[in-house]
Amino acid sequence: MADDAGAQEKKPVSIGSELIIPIAALAFTLYYFYTIWNAPWTAQVAAFIVGSVLILLVVLILIKSFRQLSRGDGEINFDNLIEPRSYIPKRLTLLGLTIAYIFVVPWLGFTITTFLFLSLAMLVLSDFTKKRLILSLSATLSLGGYLLFIVAFKTRFPAGPFENLMNGLF
């Protein structure tokens, strides 16, 4: 899993991206403390212990990063998060499609949304080659998913035009 690291030993550490997790953790911990400030002790004890340690750890990594910066071992950039840059458009499109999937599924239902998501995402990733294969694969998978999840397992997925049509037919 950690195979993405390595390979760039000599390059300065990209401090910007490495601080995202600690900063997020810090922000969340402070928000969490805010929500339990006036709560009974049972709500506080574990979170205060763990949260304090976490804050301490974040302070340590901030100090470490600051020293790296001043020594010139680190740079404020987001390189290791976005490299390789050539994949930025594809990655962002995939993210956008995923968000769209979640927002569209209540309206279009499971089957149509899954088909659209799969085919669009695969088309983008394949640079719009192999169109026929992708369309038939997406259709098969979304229909298979419909049969498995909705017909067989009776999952309470939102119904859309397709599901309603099938319900009407059978």
Partner: protein, 341 residues
Amino acid sequence: MKDFDSKLDRRTVLKGGAALAGAAAASSLPFGSAFAAGYPDRNIKVYVPTREGGGADRLLRSVTGVWKNHIGTNFEPSFFPGAAGRVGYEKYMGLAKDDMYEFLFGNMGPEVLNWVVKKPTFDLNDFQYFAQVDSDPGILFVSRRSKFKTVDDIIAEGKKRTLNVGVSRLAHPATLGALALAKHTGAKFNPIPLSGGKNTRAGVATGEMDLGALPSGGIVNRAKTFKVVLMFSHTNPLPGRSDNAPTMNAHFGTNMPSLIAGSRAFGIKKSAIAKHPDRFAKVEETLKKAFADPAFKEAYAKTKSPWEFVGLRSAAQAKEYADNIAKIGAEFKDLLAGKQT
């Protein structure tokens, strides 16, 4: 043992096959076209604010399994567990339409106590229970392995040291019963919320808790493991199955209101009743018929819960019960919310 030996033959296999086929047949719906006109013309959705497979689920299945034949449509339970019922109620009030196709099936006692501790985001006046289905008294119980045999043993020990009382959650009628008992007798009880009846029984059975306080249903059907020592209701509906446990008022001379701990009920948006009084009438009428149907008693018997608890009560009776619980809850409000140790 004997018939177990003789069953091991080809018939077992064949019978199993037949059962499979029977199950397939049973899952298709057995109603005709008698109710096809008008309401209801599609499934009725029931919001259940507890987990699938829990007590409410089982009871709901036995009720709707018969009710569907009388009202003429299927019931679709939807489970919204979370925050001790809060999620289910909020979802119901937020999502359900007031077209009489969406009900809620909850456990009035603990869920009414929720609102005492923390108000919901919706207006409680927009919601009402319209049919109380069962009434399960709160009880005090111990493990059969426990050194305590009666409630008097418990009180005597509780005056010497603090006893840990396993409860489903703090804001629960059975917990209120235990607290009231401690207050009355001077025994020291430390209620430990164990998140649900299942865990509470485990806590008492494994000896981590000195005793437990729960609705009686999950306890009386495990009579080999647990012993009921006290009832918080006015009468003991199940003397035979609860070692003839005394009621609190009779044994201690108190004057407590009857603490029915489990009382499952159907609820609905008031606006739905106002909009569709005709549909509501049909709902009430068919539910009454379902309760009178011998098939219901049969289905219910299979859950092994005591039939003595079952009794359809009207909207007015349900309201009276809910108000009563809310009143007792208000007395112990600080303790339930952790403002007092």
